[in-house]
């Protein structure tokens, strides 16, 4: 056999790991992928696992939708104006987060901080609207311990809200890191993960406002 099975490249142009730069990208046979790809992919898999967790809450919500125990139902409770406001705010914040990604890509400290600040304020508005909705329900005797339907609603939507709150904490930390340490590579990769997270939360909200609020507001006779 002419080519030995273990060939060790020692051309100095090939970098410290002694391996050739990947010619065939994507399939992994060119050696370990660049770090940005690895970090991005790992976080992508985490996002999918998070979506699967949300789907378990969705399944519970769908199963328990009619279990109102004589208490208030979705149709009676949901205020779509609030839902519309929350949707608008979160969608806007996804856009501003995209702008922040561009600012980071172009290494502009000023625009990064501005875009992140706006994103954070929009996100905070979203949370405040949600808290107002929840406390309103509780005051009307429609809290999570009233019925199985309400338990599943508060858990599903509340879980999303907790994710957004944690993301806001992360956002603040990112702002601090960019300010303190500039656009170092590991901070930029961390921010890549943050922006993926923020966009994914808007994706989950799309499912929530459509399938929980809008479907829930339909008159009961129209539901399967």
């Amino acid at each position: 056999m002419s080519t030995p099975a273990l060939r060790l490249a020692h051309d100095p142009a090939l970098g410290p790991a002694g391996i050739a730069p990947p010619q065939v990208t994507g399939r992994g046979a060119g050696g370990p992928a660049p770090k940005r790809i690895i970090v991005g992919y790992g976080f992508w898999i985490f996002l999918l696992s998070d979506v699967i967790m949300f789907s378990a809450f969705f399944a519970a919500y769908a199963v328990l939708f009619k279990s109102t125990d004589g208490g208030p139902s979705a149709h009676e409770l949901f205020d779509l104006r609030n839902t519309a406001a929350q949707t608008a705010v979160l969608l806007a914040s996804t856009f501003t987060c995209g702008m922040a990604s561009l600012a980071v890509g172009h290494r502009s400290q000023k625009w990064t901080q501005i875009a992140l600040l706006v994103t954070g304020l929009l996100g905070l508005t979203f949370i405040l609207l949600e808290v107002r909705e929840f406390t309103g329900f509780v005051a009307r005797g429609a809290g999570p311990s009233r019925s199985a339907f309400l338990s599943s609603f508060f858990t599903l939507v509340g879980c999303h809200g907790i994710h957004v709150s944690v993301a806001l904490l992360w956002l603040g930390t990112m702002m601090a890191q960019f300010y303190a340490k500039g656009f170092r590579q590991d901070i930029r990769y961390r921010f890549l993960c943050f922006s993926l997270f923020w966009h994914a939360l808007d994706i989950v909200w799309v499912a929530i406002f459509n399938l929980v609020y809008l479907v829930g507001s339909l008159p009961p006779e129209l539901l399967p």
Binding site: A5, R7, P16, A29, G31, I52, S147
Partner: protein
Amino acid sequence: MLGKLNWQAIPFDQPIPLAAGAVVVLALAALLVWLAAKGYMPYLWREWITSVDHKRIGIMYCLLAGVMLLRGFIDALMMRSQQALAFHAAGYLPPEHYNQIFSAHGTIMIFFMAMPFVIGLMNFAMPLQLGVRDVAFPTLNSVSFWLTAAGALLVNISLVVGEFARTGWLPFPPLSELTYSPGVGVDYYLWAIQISGIGTLMTGINFVTTILKIRAPGMTYRRMSIFCWTTLAASLVIVAAFPILTATLAMLTLDRYSGFHFFTNEGGGNAMMFMNLIWAWGHPEVYILVLPAFGVFSEVVSTFCGKPLFGRRSMIVATMGICILSLCVWLHHFFTMGAGADVNAVFGIASMIIAVPTGVKIYNWLFTMYGARVRFSAAMLWSIGFMVTFILGGVTGVLLASPAADFVLHESLFQVAHFHNVIIGGVVFGVFAGYTYWFPKAFGFVLDERLGKAAFWCWLIGFYLAFMPLYVVGLEGMTRRMQHYDRPEWYPWLLVAAVGAFVILCGIALQIAQLWVSIRGRAQRRDLTGDPWDGRSLEWATTSPPPMFNFAVLPDVVSDEPYWSIKQQARAQAQLVTPEPEYTSIEVPRNSATGFVTAFLAVVTGFSLIWHIWWLVILGLVGAYATFVAFAWRDHTEIEIPAEEVARIDRANRAARAAALREGATR
């Protein structure tokens, strides 16, 4: 101030847990004192506790599993002896205690023995087999391990402070709801599993990313070892299934803590939904356990038969087929709950179909052995024992997959015998084979073969003695988890089963003796070349143990048995094939206390949640956030190993192998 915690939490009035707890606490204290006195603490902290090296983390996982095997097995001995004594009698374990024992037995064996053992083996071997330096996220790997250990610690704390759940290894409502389980037992279970579940999910993400994105140059998917394929499949199932567990246990936690009505009897709750969701996790879980074990057998069988694995491609297809199918059969755990004939039929057929790819694997192993000169080492014996035992267990599984049969056998000892048959025959034998096979690579010396074989025979004979009678009594109508009974026809079988448990105890004792003897005699049992078994995959190209960076230069892979082909070439020439490479410095990630600190805070937070010490919960969560920020704020994340050091280590490896070739050794 301390929530529900008070002195009554300690079981002063129950002699057995009190004595057990006292023994464990004293033994732990003695161990810590000895370690401190001998000055091992700085070494342990620097080299093991804060290590982010996949090899060290893998070893720690296996060590945790070994210790938990002892705890879980003691529970098993207690159950068997109770059932052997409790014919027309009360036995020695009151029902409240017996219920905690079988719950703890299952919980510990699945979550803190089997899972850590397979994850530990995958952690250790997979990066080496891929020809790379570490997993994708080494610090996350450390966090995962320590979170698993935190969960194990919480379960063990429940022995002395409070109580454990009495609801079985899966806490079915309404029994697990606050109304019927008002104590802290179920809460211990919930928080321990949630914490370790996060660790496991992170491991799944880590492994999937590593296998798909970080492989040696030239290693296409088809050239990956079968163990790495099964690791990929198991990790994908972890990513798919563990979020369901997190969500479902969260729902039960909300029911218990905040008066929600997911599964309660009142308020419209639906207890059946818990069954549906928890088994949607629970069935994939057992495939997470068994797929890596199948991978181990593929490696061991091909090595000790001296042949490439038969039917590689069909093996890969079967593995990925099992991966997908395992997510489609969960209802067979509750055929009797009343979904009706059409639903039951669909899931029953799916459950039978999943036996087909497993059968393909068995045939491939058998055909690998056919026509080979089989070396009956201890690892090979575990593999052959597995093939016989697992086939039997699998067949009883297909029997149970028929809803009609299951209506008679559900929750009987027949079912218990089936799943122990496949888990012990499959998973436990698999991790023991992997432990024996990779021990020299991990520690640099070989385990005693004779004691290993003796241990195997005790386990094999003990297993059959312990579990075949359970099939019989199951068919005779005995249900599981019985604290006492009065049917005379069951009694002799349960006596035999108790004897079997004690034979297994001898097997475990022999394994401990094997470890002791091997460590004491390690100078004579050194693995000098790094290849004690005449292996075929890349991990055997490194020294035993490998250097921290695994490979001085990443290998270039052109075949699916990369090490074997170059070894054959070298043997033909009686010298090393590759020239000495140009060594460059290697950057390795710095050790980090993040994992240990996170786990410490997890234990504090979990304990405070269990006992309703709310201020401590908040402190714990704040501490966790601070830990993440501290980790993210690090400026220096790597240390550099200079080229001269790399050269020195690799030259020694090359010299040892060149010497072995010159001697014309058979290795």
